[in-house]
């Protein structure tokens, strides 16, 4: 599996990563190598094998429906780059 520069650009866009033009060929090469390496998996015989999403063979534990959290907005927003009136600010959202 060999990725072109355009492939890298579209993956980067989907992942919301800016990549400089000069770095694109480097990513194209290393990502292609990785994909080629993992393509070994094709050789594994997996007919009838149940996919394993998780190492634990357990079911989901459930939590009682209780409110346990209090308002900590000021504390939590100390890490925020830009807030106003308790809101996180971002460039205008266009729908």
């Amino acid at each position: 599996m060999s990725l072109s520069s355009d492939d890298v650009k579209s993956i980067a866009r989907l992942a919301r990563l800016s990549i400089s033009d000069q770095d694109i060929p480097v990513y194209a090469r290393t990502l292609s190598n990785i994909l080629e390496f993992v393509a070994q998996l094709e050789r594994a015989e997996t007919d009838g094998v149940t996919p394993m999403a998780h190492p634990l063979d357990m079911s989901q534990r459930l939590r009682p429906d209780q409110v346990s959290e209090t308002d900590q907005r000021d504390l939590y927003q100390q890490n925020a780059p830009q807030v106003e009136a308790g809101l996180y600010l971002v460039p205008k959202v266009i729908e």
């Binding site: 993956i11 992942a15 990563l17 990785i34 390496f37 998996l41 996919p51 394993m52 925020a80 205008k92």
Partner: protein
Amino acid sequence: MHNKTLAELARELKSRKLSSEELTRAFLARIERFNPELNAFITVLQEQALAEARAADQRLAKGDAGPLTGLPIAQKDIFCTQGVKTSCGSKMLDNFISPYDATLVERLKQAGTVMLGKTNMDEFAMGSSNETSWYGPVKNPWDLTKVPGGSSGGSAAAVAARMAPAATGTDTGGSIRQPAALTGLTGIKPTYGRVSRYGMIAFASSLDQAGVITYTAEDAAMLMSAIAGFDERDSTSIDKLVPDYVAELGQSLKGLRIGLPKEFFDKGLDARVGDAVHASLEVYKKLGATVHEISLPNFWLSVPTYYVVAPAECSSNLSRFDGVRFGYRCENPVDLMDLYTRSRGEGFGAEVKRRIMTGTYVLSAGYYDAYYLKAQKTRSLIRQDFLDAFKQVDVIMGPTTPTPAFGLGEKTDDPVTMYLNDIYANGVNLAGLPGMSLPMGFVDQLPVGLQIIGNYFDEARMLAAAHQYQRETDWHTRGPAAFA
């Protein structure tokens, strides 16, 4: 005092021969002296540590101290620590002050340990050499031109250079065991679900597990008793009784069946590392264990499987770093897309971006079945191999890494070669099994590690096997001469 084990230091604290403050000062002084050279710490908590030490001394004086009270340790900077910068080795979180403590941190605090500082690591734990850290590489105290391993490289270097008597780590694909091996230390990655993941910044959620790096198995057992156990804040944490790991250290190894996977002793393994494994097995035979050749026929699938599963999960886990609620935000974003792409593009380093892109790709429409679903199936096969093996043997042993520590910069251009350094480690995470590494000798004057893989929740037996080996050998007492 800095060459003493946690167990020895604990006894001295208990007997009031030594105060926690003295001990803490001694390690802080060593950090001040050696850290500039090794770059093992991102944050050093001079004042906080001394305050905690004094509080511990009061507990010790009052006699309400636990087995760990007053012992200084270093925390990997992947664990959220309230009021303290938690960077995860990334520019993305260089300005991040955690408003809460990870469960592991909370438990160690309650046990009365003293936090010396936060250790350097590969960015978001993605690396095997500690070279992907935004804070620069960590150096191996045994040879400053070599890597200490990763991703818990800062923790390993800190303990190896005796800047801390023990440190926490996390292991997603070998990140505790491999650096422990490359720095001559004992490292344990418990069974998936044994230690809470709450507050540990996620890399790959179905693989991540916290553990510790120490001088000895006994020290590891002491810390494990504090950090293991159920946590209602982590759905994948297991509600199962935690044994007294220290009390179990003495369990007899008579009749212990050790499995030796023939696939581990193939090309790629430095023959001298293989020899060290075989020499270790002789020690075990003397202790009454029996050695059996076993086969893990799907072993060859573990690294490629890992490099689909781990990037897939990481690509999603790291989406929350978007410059909106915390972390790095680019200057003057022109629109939303620009805010996202530049904050993430500038905030993440090259390896993290590479893994996010790999993961994005393997999950994307048209490739999911060929990569992600396929890897879930091969993951099943890998686990099944282990389950089959544990029908025949009690523990599995082999090398932790194929070679001793490699040179700084040696593998940075070739990710796949770097990835193969964890060839013996990845499968253990994929299966969710517990694994350890302990010092078993030297190759080219560099330490190499013996890996022990246990059955699910069989940490006690694994630790006992390591402990009794350490009573017969002295590899674990050796330290790098430059940091004596």
